[in-house]
Amino acid sequence: MRPDLVPLLWDAFGQTLYMVLITLAVGGFFGLLLGLGLYLTRPGNLLANRPVFAVLNVAVNIVRPVPFLIFLVALGPLTRAVVGTTIGIEAFTFAMCVMASFVFARLVEQNLVSIDPGVIEAARAMGASPLRIVRTVVVPEALSPLILGYTFLFIGVLDMSAIAGYLGGGGLGDFAIQYGYRQYDWAVTAIVVVIIIVIVQLVQWLGNTLARRALRR
């Protein structure tokens, strides 16, 4: 790899980091809310509400299976309304946030469903309000699988960032295409791949460690 590419690689790394961290923060937050909503309004659960559950469920089912490349384009009008433009890293990060929220919502819901209903009943029997139960029972009891789900989300988001970066002109994905694939410089592509593998390994290790600590058994 040419030495003059190193600062560009650093820029690309920074851009990927920017996209991924913002998406993880925003998507994690809204995904958790959506997932809790799905779980709580499910028939038979704490805030059982069939219409609300149906709307959330259908929304998640509609968004999730759409390939990200198409979703990115399809979300254009909304992206323009919120960000002001449909191109560039900012615009595509917005689309990533939306997609990540829906993806994480399903992950959260699936992990919460495994909580023992007896524990929630015990909290109800002690006079706890639904909000308190969410805060002190639902989330803490499912913390370990939630951390693993969030780690899984990170890898999905990294994948999305390569596509968003390529279309938006930035990030590691774009760098690998521009300076590796198009210039027949396989070393550049290989370096990017190695960087991504290292990042994923580190994050997975961190996620596993935190999840194990949260497990308490």
Binding site: G118, G127, R132, V137, P140
Partner: protein
Amino acid sequence: MSEPIISFRGAVKEFPGRGRVGRRSAGVRAVDGVTLDIAAGEIFGVIGYSGAGKSTLVRLVNALETTTAGSVVVDGTDLTGLSEARMRPVRAGIGMIFQQFNLLRSRTVAGNVAYPLEVAGWSRADRDARVAELLTFVGIADKAASYPSALSGGQKQRVGIARALATNPRILLADEATSALDPETTADVLALLQRVNRELGITVVVITHEMEVVRSICHRVAVMERGRVVELGDAYQVFSDPQQDVTRRFVASALRDRPSPAVLRRLRGRHPGRIVTVRIDEVSGSSAQVMEVLADRGVHGTIVYGGITEVAERPYGSLTLELGGDEAAVSAALDGLHAVTAVVDHGTVAAPAAEGNDR
């Protein structure tokens, strides 16, 4: 009976049937018109097979379920039509323990016991003091910093009891609290529930499918079948004189003192003489009376089967005897036994009586 602390009046709980509108199947009446008073300070048992509605009945007391008809009055508060928010303080004033303990795995033993105190808004210092006091009461103070996963079933239920008692409730509901425990641990937990009742004056409502639990701690018992209370009375009376088939089956499951037909056949093989089963209890006869009758008539009685145990802390059981002596004496002894207690005459090998195992 003292003032009732829990009153059911025609209480009904019907769960809607599953299925879509228009094709809806009939609802399930888990509790079907129960009228029942539970007195302050007693240990009250509700026994029934699974699906009899006992778990739903007990959940009407702390408003985890609400009645679809009739009323439930708890400690002077009518729960009928109370809003969800108004029910929370009622629930907080009633302790509950569960078959699967339902401890929070994410919290230590101390953290679990502190949970209801947090809900009730106690200060940190008050919580810590109360948790220490409770863990000492149930005998697991050394486990305060452990997580539930490190505890045995019996220890988990002790934590459950400590947690249920935290806010000084007047009522403790025990939903199959010993069904997941081995016999020895069951006895420990039952003894603890008895202490809770005696030392703290807490009314305990025990839901169980094990007559053994009723036998060892309950003062009164209600037998449930298909959502209804089919028999109600003092535990001793229900044991000694069960009226319903379902009750007889439960009593037979807790007391194995009477010989079954198979046992009787083997007894006859070993003991050729007259075999009789005599009931031993407070109402009819004591074993002293039985022995006295036999001695008076010059009959030798060999105990070949049976047992005397306690029901509600009073003696109860039966003895199966082989009577030895001349025919006239044995016949006179039988008349004498009939005068003091209930007797089942099984006859002899040569002249066996019809095999009746009437209790």
